[in-house]
């Protein structure tokens, strides 16, 4: 599969994998139509049509596969693809933010994997997927790319890269934590509604239950998807950064270079408080929120863990212990944020800004000062009346665009702004040296 210039092809089973996916979609559409018009169906015709369409899809897939090639040079990944419109993409490795090895369930059976790259710049075109490769080759390629991106010599063998497992999330903890989230809230609300309805004797409860049921099941299925995606969650440390492995059916192995982390968020829903659990999410520049749910399931650095463990991990990612967010807001902030004022805190050291906020879910945001893009102080009309202001530290994160210290004294806010600007400058210089 390799010619003299180092150009390589994707795995030959790629068209079949793509065709198989197409067949599934087709079967779903045909099946739906067929159920509606059971009497007018000629099974032979339908069979032939499906067979023809699939053959066509595989043929198109084959041509596309023939026209797709890739090559890794010392500085960039080059991918040429496209049948009618030719596309030649060059991904500079210096811009690489993270590399994921994704293995959908079907691909796993065949020993295949997909390589997804994230580069700086965001948007829907920020990724350059290579699908499909053999699993060992995908690992090897990832190791090489990350090594080249970091300016190191190539690792001899991807399997030989030292990897220390830092945290593994037990399955029962993941299950319980998922159930204690939205499903718990939904169940409580549903039960309350039912109780009220039972109180009103003359009302027929069945239609109401039937109406609410799909929403309820939807919430359950979202939680279920989360469990599937985060099953067996493992965080390991490698020279390339943190390696996350997770997933039950579709497994995913992400590598996050720790020096590219823009923002970290620790979330603690109310129902997790008795156990002291938190969820850790990270954002690296360029991780675009393109595939909605799937992406939402993968922004976790750690889906659930005791707070001490989570904070130790975050300290490891950001290099050094975190400051404690303990500076409270003035008492008068209660007039502006009655429910959350007592949770509003801020903390600062030479390298990090930490803020907490939230009403039901206690949220802690951490911004490495070296990653700050801009700083702002804002004060709305009601805040001005109370002489309060909010300090924002903006980063290049897409889902977590920075941290904000809400409703602090106006004079203190302005001092904090200047202090942050000075410390961010020092941190930036230290980082670029």
């Amino acid at each position: 599969m390799t010619d003299d210039d180092g150009w390589q092809r994707l795995h030959p089973l790629t068209p079949l994998m793509r065709g198989g996916r197409f067949l599934l979609v087709l079967a779903a559409v045909v099946g739906q139509q067929g159920l509606r018009q059971l009497d007018q169906i000629n099974p032979v015709q339908v069979g032939l049509a499906v067979l023809g369409a699939t053959a066509l899809a595989v043929l198109v897939g084959y041509v596309a596969w023939r026209r797709t090639r890739y090559r890794l040079t010392a500085t960039e990944l080059q991918v040429d693809s496209g049948v009618l419109t030719r596309r030649s993409r060059r991904v500079p490795l210096a811009r690489l933010q993270s590399v994921d090895v994704v293995r959908p369930a079907i691909a796993r059976v065949l020993g295949l994997a997909e390589l997804r790259l994230e580069v700086v710049g965001g948007g829907s075109h920020s990724e350059a997927p290579l699908a499909y490769l053999t699993e060992p080759h995908a690992q090897l390629l990832r190791g090489r790319m990350l090594a080249l991106a970091a300016g190191r010599d190539e690792p001899v063998d991807a399997a030989a890269v030292p990897e220390t497992v830092l945290v593994a999330v037990p399955t029962h903890v993941l299950l319980v934590s998922a159930l204690l989230g939205p499903p718990l809230v939904a169940t409580v609300i549903l039960l309350l509604v039912l109780l009220v309805l039972l109180g009103l004797r003359d009302l027929d409860t069945l239609p109401v239950v039937l109406a609410v049921l799909p929403v309820y099941l939807g919430i359950l299925s979202v939680a279920g998807k989360r469990v599937l995606a985060e099953y067996g969650f493992q965080v390991a440390e490698t020279p390339d950064g943190l390696r996350l492995r997770h997933g039950l059916l579709d497994t995913r192995s992400q590598t996050i270079p720790t020096d590219r982390v823009q923002t970290v968020r620790l979330r603690q829903p109310l129902a997790w408080q008795p156990w002291g659990w938190v969820r850790v999410e990270v954002d690296v520049a360029g991780y675009s929120s393109r595939r909605g749910e799937e992406e939402a399931a993968t922004n976790a650095l750690l889906p659930v863990a005791p707070r001490a463990l989570a904070e130790a991990l975050v300290g490891r990612v950001l290099g050094g212990p975190l400051p404690v967010a303990q500076a409270p807001v003035p008492h008068r902030a209660r007039w502006r944020a009655p429910l959350s004022a007592r949770r509003l805190r801020a903390g600062l050291d030479d390298r990090h800004l930490v803020t907490t906020h939230g009403v039901l879910t206690t949220t802690t945001d951490v911004v490495p000062l070296a990653k700050v893009q801009s700083l702002r102080v804002t004060s709305g009309p009601w805040q001005q009346r109370l002489r309060l202001a909010t300090v924002h530290a903006d980063t290049a994160g897409r889902r977590l665009p920075g941290a904000a210290a809400h409703h602090r004294d106006a004079a203190e806010s302005q001092a904090l702004l200047m202090e942050l600007a000075a410390r961010a400058r020092t941190a930036r210089r230290r980082a670029s040296r």
Binding site: K371, Q373, S374, R376, H392, A396, A421, S432
Partner: protein, 165 residues
């Protein structure tokens, strides 16, 4: 509670301001958007419903215009920017007051834009873009020469202090 809050008063000693032409521009826009259509409505009311109604609408329009002009005036006075050694400070806003600090090294690119009215008055807007979506360093109503100077200086400083993501 004392004097009204002015964010950024202590942040920089000498805030530079947009050209007075910006105030003129905003006043003209105000008249075009409020007084002109308002007067048309007043005239229509006068013709269709009677002179008294027309007069009432006219008074309302006049009041509204006066308020708008007052707001425009205050907003103009709120604008300010300061070039410090390592970052650009921008302050703005009356209802929502804002002070932004953008390090030169974080700049991705600078835009200078000027609409038709801006050009007539020789004004331009300079906008600084960073990799963060929330950054809002944008200064309107600069004289064309000052806008060009600021753009070139920002671009030069940005290159000199560029830092990786």
């Amino acid at each position: 509670m004392g004097s009204p809050l002015h964010l950024g008063d202590d942040a920089a000693g000498d805030w530079l301001r947009p050209a007075p032409g910006l105030l003129l521009l905003r006043r003209v826009e105000c008249l075009l958007l409020v007084a002109l259509p308002g007067s048309a409505v007043a005239v229509a009311a006068g013709v269709l419903a009677g002179p008294l109604q027309g007069l009432a609408v006219l008074v309302a329009v006049a009041l509204l215009t006066a308020l708008a002009l007052l707001a425009v005036d205050r907003r103009f006075r709120a604008w300010g920017y300061a070039e410090r050694e390592d970052d650009l400070l921008v302050r703005r806003g009356v209802l929502v007051q804002r002070v932004s600090v953008v390090p030169y090294g974080r700049m991705q690119y600078v835009d200078v834009t000027a609409g038709p009215l801006d050009r007539r008055l020789g004004l331009a807007r300079v906008t600084l873009h960073t990799a963060a979506a929330a950054s809002d360093a944008s200064i309107p109503g600069l004289r064309a020469a000052e806008a060009a100077r600021l753009r070139d200086r920002l671009a030069a400083l940005g290159e000199a202090r560029a830092a990786g993501l």
